[in-house]
Structures are given as C-alpha cells and as structure tokens.
C-alpha cells in the first residue's frame, strides 16, 4: 500500500458506499447524478443537487435519485459512472466538464443507459450535452461592475482555462468596457473548482493588486467573504451568496437546472428521450440573477434590466462586434456576432483582459 493508491481507494469506497444505499429499492427507475464537489458547497454542485431534488419531488415514487459527490475529474469519475450504469440506472447526469470523456467511454459500453453531460461539447446516441449560457449573466453583470468600480480594476478568479470560463471573462470584459473604456480585468487562475482557502487567497491577491470588484468562476463563497471584509464589491457564483457578503454582493449569477432535469427525466421515463444539445440562457430560466444590491443606483439597475431583456428577446448579443482580441486582431467586425461554434471553442481573451491566457 503506497500513498499513491490513496485517492483511488477513497474513490472506490465512496462508490461502494453509494451503491449500497442505492441497492435497496428496485421498483422505481433509478436516476443517477455525479457531482464534482460536495452538495454543501453552496455553489455549483449545490444547484445541481437542488435539480435532483426537484426531480425527486416532481416524480415522487416513480423514480429513485442517487448521487455521488466530490468525484475527481478523470479516471476516478469513469469508475463512478460505470458503477452507476452497471447498477441499473436509467439516466445518469454527469455534472462537470472533466466528466465528458469518461461519460462517453462508459456510454459506449452501456447503449441502453441514457447519459446527460453538463458543459461539454461531445455527444453520442445515448449522450446528450447540456449547458447554460452563463456568459449572458456575466454580460449583464459587466454593465453593473463597469459602473461600480472606482479603481477601474476588476479581479476575476478563474478555475481552469477552458472555453466555458474564458467566455465568461470575455463577456464580462466586453460589457464593462462598453460602459467604462478604462476597465482592466486581472485574472488569477487557481487550478481548482473548489478550495475555499485558495479561492480566498486569490481574492486577497487581486484586491491587493488594486481590484475593487471580485468575480469568480469557482464554487465556494469564500471570495465573497474576503470582499465583504475588505470592503470591495463581489458577484456571487451559481447561487445567491448574499448571506456571506450582505454588503459586498452586487448580485449573483444563478444556475437553475430544475426544469431541465425534470423534463429530461420525464422524457427518459416515457421513452421520448433523444440525444440533444441544449444551451439555454435567460430565456429558458437556466440562468438567473439574484436580487440586486441596494447600493446599486436605480438608473444602473434599469440599464441591467434593459440589457437582460434585450438578451432574452435576442436584440442584444453579448459577443456582437466591433471588438478586438487581446492581441489587437479583430474579434468580431461591426455588425457581426460570434456564432455558437466560436463561443464553444473560445480560447483567447478580448482586449481589456490583462495577462496571458494559460494554454
């Protein structure tokens, strides 16, 4: 037994434990959820678990939902997903980007089991892809923070440099620059989705470098606490985090998976389920904003609401030109807007973001 085998052992025990719990009921259809963080993270995983609970409440004793939390992305997740599939789950939601290839691999071996993978870009006959256009939320937030900042420096805590995260940084920057051309966005990558301590450290570093607004694409409320303590603004991630930062939170970008999870589960039960690609924004309810901070002036709230309504009815496209990439080349020309394909593969910063994007 070496130290190296510890993570795999932990994974195996976690799976075995959850399977034991799931094995008692056989009459209902089993719907499985694989989470990257703990359900109590108060952010990303917490919102997915609310979706699972919505499925359970809505469909009652027709289904039995099970979940495995804190599953590491990569090989560990493949084992967890395979266990679930082998254990007779009818539909399995894998809710993190890094579960994409493991999900597809397992799906090939279990053609009768249906899979739903969140925030990825690959599909198969029995694997759907779904995600939300969180960048729409970031764009609205950008209009607010561009006006609220005094130092003109916005701090952004990134998890991993994947298109999903880069898109958020760019949408925020474009919107903030549209109301305040002097804006600079500083990014600190923490290489984790969930580590309250490290997220807090990153927030402190950004504030020490002059940022007076903190945004994050990580899952814990720790950065908001730092913002509250240091007296700067912050924006909540995935769920309303205002109780951690009643003064500092301007708003929060909320994920709402409830409707989608219930609809897809119903489809799997009645046989109408097909492999689909869903990318929903404000208009589907998948993306929402928490109540605005009272400190935001009324005209700014009006601007935010106008932007949101425009995005909903399609009259405002966050990635509409003209704007430049960070290196000065053209991102989109006047009168053009980036298509979904470009957005899904976005691996460059727009002008206004500082530092180099890790490759």
């Amino acid at each position: 037994m070496t130290l190296k085998s510890i993570p795999s052992l932990l994974g195996a025990v976690a799976v075995a434990g959850s399977m034991l719990m799931g094995a008692t009921a056989m009459a209902e259809d089993k719907i499985g959820f694989v989470y990257v963080g703990p359900v109590g993270d108060h952010g990303w995983t917490y919102r997915h678990d609310l979706g699972r609970q919505a499925v359970q409440n809505e469909l009652g004793d027709k289904v039995k939902t099970t979940f495995v939390e804190s599953v590491k992305e990569g090989p560990d997740s493949e084992r967890v997903i395979r266990q679930m599939a082998a254990d007779g789950h009818k539909l399995i939601f894998t809710t993190s980007f890094g579960f994409m290839n493991p999900t597809l691999k397992v799906a090939k071996q279990f053609p009768d089991v249906k899979f739903e993978h969140a925030t990825g870009y690959k599909r198969a006959d029995n694997v759907s892809a779904y995600s939300a256009r969180f960048y729409e939320g970031r764009y609205v937030v950008g209009k607010i923070v561009g006006n609220m900042t005094k130092s003109n420096v916005i701090g952004y805590i990134g998890s991993f440099p994947i298109p999903e995260v880069v898109r958020g940084i760019n949408a925020l920057t474009l919107a903030a620059k549209s109301v305040n051309p002097d804006i600079k966005v500083k990014v600190a990558w923490v290489s984790t989705w969930y580590d309250p301590g490290k997220e807090a450290d990153a927030a402190k570093a950004l504030i020490d470098q002059g940022a007076d607004v903190i945004l994050q694409h990580t899952d814990s409320p720790a950065p908001l606490q730092v913002a509250e303590e240091r007296g700067v603004w912050a924006v909540g991630q995935a769920s309303d985090m205002s109780r951690f930062a009643p003064k500092a939170q301007l708003t929060a970008i909320i994920d709402d998976w409830d409707g989608y999870y219930v609809a897809r589960t119903k489809a799997a039960l009645d046989g109408s389920w097909k492999s689909e690609d869903t990318w929903g924004g404000f208009n589907t309810g998948m993306v929402d904003l928490a109540p605005y901070n009272k400190a935001i002036p009324a005209d700014l709230i009006a601007l935010a609401e106008k932007t949101r309504n425009g995005i909903e009815d399609g009259s405002i496209l966050p990635f509409a030109g003209p704007f430049n990439k960070q290196d000065g080349s053209v991102g989109a020309k006047d009168g053009e807007a980036l298509d979904d394909g470009t957005l899904l593969g976005m691996n460059w910063y727009v002008e206004g973001v500082e530092g180099e994007l890790p490759k």
Binding site: D41, W189, S191, G355
Partner: protein, 309 residues
C-alpha cells in the same frame, strides 16, 4: 506593484495560508515521533473545523470553540488509537478510514450550519505597535491562533530535545521493544502522542473555519491534511523545518497568485507547480545525505507493537 508595498499583503496572506499546515504538521510530527503513522489528519482537521465552527456559532465564545475543536480532534485520534494501538489494526488502513469517517462525520455534523457566516477571529491590535509601517501589522496584527502556532512549534522543539519526557517519546518511536524492556508504557505514551496530534489537527481545522475562511463548507480542508503529512517528510521530522516548510508552501502559493494578478507573463501552470517542485527539490537535496534523515526519522514508524514479544 510600485516599490515594496506589495510585500506586506503577501506576507499577511502567507501567514493565514501556512498556519493550518503548521498546526496539523506539528501535531502529526509528535504522533510520528512516537512511532505511529496516522494518515487521518484530513479527517481530524475536518471534524475540528466543524466542531469549532458549531461551538463558535452557538456560544459565540472563540476560546471555547478552539478548545472544542482540539477536543474533537483528539477524540478522533483516540478512536484511531483504540484500533491501532489496543486492537493492533493496520495503521495505514485505519488512518485512511479515519479520513473517510471524518469527511462523512463532519458533513453530517455541519448540515445545519452550511451557509451560515460567522465573524472572523479577532486580530491583535496594539495602538502604536500595530501601526508601525510594514512590520507592525505582520508582527502585532495577527489573531491568537497564529501566535499559538509559533508557541507550539517552540514548545514541541523544546519538549523533544530538551526534556526527559521528550527523550522517552523519541525512544518509544525509535525502538519500542527497548523502551518497553526498561519499563516504559509504549502503548500509553503512544496514546498521548496520537491524541496530541489529533488536538493539533483539530485546531488547524478550526483555523480554517474560524479565521482563514470563516464559514463551514463540506470538505473545506481541500487536501491540506495530506500536505501536512508531506511536510513532515519534507522537514525530516524536525519541528523547525515543519514551520519553515509550511511557510514556504503557503508563500509560494500566494506569490504565484500575486504574480498572476500582476500580469507577469509566466504560465500559471508553471507557477502552480512551484510549491511541489520546491518540495521535490528539497527532498532530493536532503536525501543526498542519508544520515541526516536516519538521525531524525523514527525507526519504528508504522510498526505494530506486540508487548508480549
């Protein structure tokens, strides 16, 4: 980043990042010096974190909260002791089980407390002294646990190398049969050492939930227990080096975040790698001199003691 103004915030953040590692590392050091390897640090930290948080929320008394965290950690360690010392279970397997148990137990205990904010631990403020530019906030502006962490390292160092009790502890760790044959209670001493380790892990956890990020979130230690375990090897079982290692590890993490925020054109992956590269480098340097490791590493670590033998 004009001048050296950025150094003070870096050091302040470094101290918060290092303190939980110092506590957990120094506690486990004593445990290992007695010849016991307890891999359950992560679990004990989590139980300490949640116990400290609950106590602080319910009573509002932070002194009590830290005591409760230490107590909870040592209860966890006592369980480990019963299994490995009295029932002679395998220490590695039991330690892993203790971590799993701690993760689950802390999540269960903290269910009602998720999403509840609490005021951070008070920081020292001495008018005049804390206001001294640069060094004032660093030396005179910390919370009590930071000062305690330095005191504990000093005390452990003194205890191990300057007292008879420390000598006995090291003897038990180096040769339990010899210590037993001259009449020392190997099992009793190991129980005390293991429970001290648990108490320190508990306080390290409480530092996370009360000062570092004042909240309770499941799994909030995020692997710091494992880093503390690695620190001891890094420090070749010397208390002072545990302290230095913890600050180095914390410091490099913070520096790389600052470098990124400052827009330095260094790939962030390289920066994130630095603490680990540094650890490997130091390990290589140290292991060139085998005698230095052997002098401080407990010879009986992980071995089960059979009193009859």
């Amino acid at each position: 980043m004009a001048g050296f103004d950025w150094i003070v915030p870096v050091i302040l953040t470094m101290i918060t990042a290092a303190t939980p590692l110092v506590f957990a590392g120094i506690g486990e050091l004593i445990t290992e010096k007695s010849g016991v390897l307890n891999l359950g640090v992560e679990g004990m930290m989590l139980v300490g974190a949640v116990t400290g948080f609950i106590t602080a929320t319910v009573t509002g008394n932070y002194f009590l909260a830290v005591l409760a965290a230490a107590f909870a950690g040592s209860v966890m360690a006592f369980l480990f002791g019963v299994l490995t010392l009295s029932l002679m279970a395998n220490q590695v397997a039991t330690g892993l089980a203790l971590t799993l148990f701690g993760v689950g137990l802390s999540a269960l205990m903290g269910q009602e407390f998720v999403g509840m904010p609490v005021d951070p631990l008070d920081k020292l403020y001495i008018s005049g002294l804390t206001d001294i530019p640069y060094i004032g906030p660093i030396i005179f502006g910390q919370d009590g646990l930071v000062y305690l962490s330095f005191a504990v390292v000093a005390a452990v160092s003194w205890f191990l190398y300057k007292t008879k009790a420390g000598l006995i502890l090291r003897a038990v760790g180096d040769s339990h049969d010899a210590a037993h044959s001259i009449g020392y209670s190997v099992i009793g001493i190991r129980y005390l050492a293991v429970m001290f380790g648990g108490a320190m892990s508990g306080i390290g956890g409480a530092y996370l939930s009360l000062a570092y990020t004042p909240m309770w979130a499941e799994n909030m230690t995020a692997g710091r227990g494992w880093i503390a375990l690695a620190l001891i090897v890094f420090a070749t079982w010397k208390p002072g080096l545990v302290l230095i290692g913890a600050y180095m590890f914390g410091g490099i993490t913070i520096l790389q975040l600052h470098a990124q925020a400052a827009g330095l054109d260094v790939p962030s992956q390289v920066l994130s790698m630095l603490p680990y590269v540094a650890t490997v480098l130091v390990l290589v340097l140290i292991s060139k001199d085998q005698s230095r490791i052997r002098k401080h590493a407990p010879a009986c670590i992980g071995k089960i003691f059979h009193p009859a033998a």
